[in-house]
């Protein structure tokens, strides 16, 4: 990724930040917002490699922590690990079909959600049995659906020659 592509990449990440903290509130359904940062992380990690996935995960996770009322570092860890795994197994994952893209994002969101929850019960959030049903599951489904047009758009922006 050089020159113009690096600039476009930084601009896209910036656009995702605005989408996450400003726009996502207006498209929330029953108070549930899609995770735009996770969509960007999964897309770029699957296209790149382990190292890129880890670094992007740490950066996006840290940004997410900064713009949240939670503890700094929780999302950075969860996103870092998710980016690492996505980058590591990118070669073995079929990511062309709509259904597989939905499943990849859905599973990544479940993984990040569970990891965040496990980490946060030791630090701040009150333990509640129904958070999986009330937050993790609907967020993952919504993020999976929103990811489909974004994946298509990002592929056209960055990997048209493929």
């Amino acid at each position: 990724m050089h020159g113009n592509k690096t600039i476009s990449f930084v601009l896209v990440i910036f656009a995702f930040l605005i989408l996450q903290v400003v726009i996502s509130n207006s498209i929330a359904v029953w108070g549930i917002k899609p995770d735009f940062f996770l969509i960007a992380l999964v897309f770029f990690s699957l296209e790149k490699n382990l190292r890129f996935g880890l670094l992007l995960g740490l950066i996006l996770g840290l940004l997410k922590d900064i713009f949240s009322g939670g503890i700094l570092g929780l999302n950075a860890f969860a996103f870092g690990l998710c980016g690492l795994i996505a980058g590591r197994y990118a070669k073995f994952i079929y990511k062309e079909g709509i259904f597989s893209q939905f499943i990849i994002v859905f599973c990544s969101s479940i993984f990040v959600g569970l990891l965040y929850y496990l980490l946060s019960i030791f630090t701040e959030l009150p333990v509640s049995k129904d958070l999986f049903k009330v937050i993790i599951l609907p967020v993952s489904a919504y993020t999976g659906v929103v990811a489909l047009p974004i994946f298509w758009l990002l592929r056209r922006l960055f990997y048209r020659e493929k």
Binding site: I23, G31, L50, F67, G69, L72, G80, D130
Partner: protein, 270 residues
């Protein structure tokens, strides 16, 4: 095959966030709000773009519905609809601001109006960022209200912006009272979008669905008598030691645009 050096580097990088987690909250919060401050112009630009997108989508919906009309009429109606949408938006905003103003005049506390410029980036926490900070008199732990009721409290402050923790955040706890039965309890966010939980009611509580819950004034942050919401349902805790109530907040958190920060001194809270 990944070399051992790279494995160590990866492990170190992954451990970095775990080290950040143990930084004292006061320091990390300060750092967080400073970074948000740096990105404030971009957030404002983003809010503006978001607002315009909303307006445009409204206009395009109007145009879609007129697609079968005659060309001239279609154009006229589209123009008028656009104008109407703008006027309606202005009138709604006017009404909202008028409501805030009359509430501000009637209140015995100094109220600082603020606009919301961003929301929380996660679904776990319910916080918002407002465009007023220390320079406008905002301080940490100030209650944030609307004429309808309690919104939350200020948790981080910078020069020109602050972060508000909303009533529906699981980490916000408010000492409260059921207005009719005078039973005391603690209201906190439930994690469920749009619902709070009032804990520690008596096992044989006399509170009923529909009862109004207000702040009790204990704790020196929220003055007594601010409406929190209405009881939706009462259930018994599994331990049997107390009952709890699901509260529907008086404020509609999905439609927040402006809020009022309440400048009170601890001595005034009783």
């Amino acid at each position: 095959m990944v070399s051992p050096k790279r494995v160590i580097l990866i492990i170190l990088l992954l451990c970095l966030p775990l080290l950040i987690i143990i930084i004292p909250r006061s320091i990390s919060n300060k750092a967080k709000i400073n970074v948000v401050s740096l990105l404030n112009p971009a957030l404002k630009a983003g809010s503006f773009v978001g607002f315009n997108l909303k307006q445009k989508s409204r206009k395009s919906q109007t145009l879609d519905s007129l697609i079968n009309e005659r060309d001239i009429l279609k154009k006229k109606v589209a123009d008028l609809s656009g104008e109407l949408a703008e006027l309606k938006e202005a009138s709604i905003e006017n009404e909202r601001l008028r409501g805030l103003l009359s509430f501000k005049k009637a209140s015995r506390y100094k109220l600082i109006p603020a606009q919301i410029i961003a929301g929380d980036s996660t679904n776990w926490h319910r916080t918002i960022i407002i465009n007023k900070g220390t320079e406008q008199g905002i301080k940490e732990n100030m209650p944030v209200v609307l004429p309808e009721g309690l919104v939350g409290k200020i948790i981080q402050v910078d020069k020109n912006l602050s972060r508000v923790m909303l009533m529906i955040d699981p980490n916000l706890k408010v000492s409260s009272l059921v207005q009719d039965s005078r039973e005391a309890g603690i209201v906190e966010g439930s994690g469920r979008p749009g619902l709070c939980k009032m804990k520690y009611l008596l096992p044989q509580t006399t509170a009923r669905p529909g009862d109004i819950v207000i702040s009790s004034g204990l704790g020196e942050i929220y003055p007594k008598g601010i409406i929190i919401g209405r009881i939706k349902k009462i259930e018994k805790d599994s331990s049997g030691l107390y009952s709890y109530a699901w509260i529907e907040p008086a404020v509609n958190f999905s439609k927040l645009e402006e809020v009022l920060c309440m400048a009170i001194k601890p001595s005034l809270s009783f």
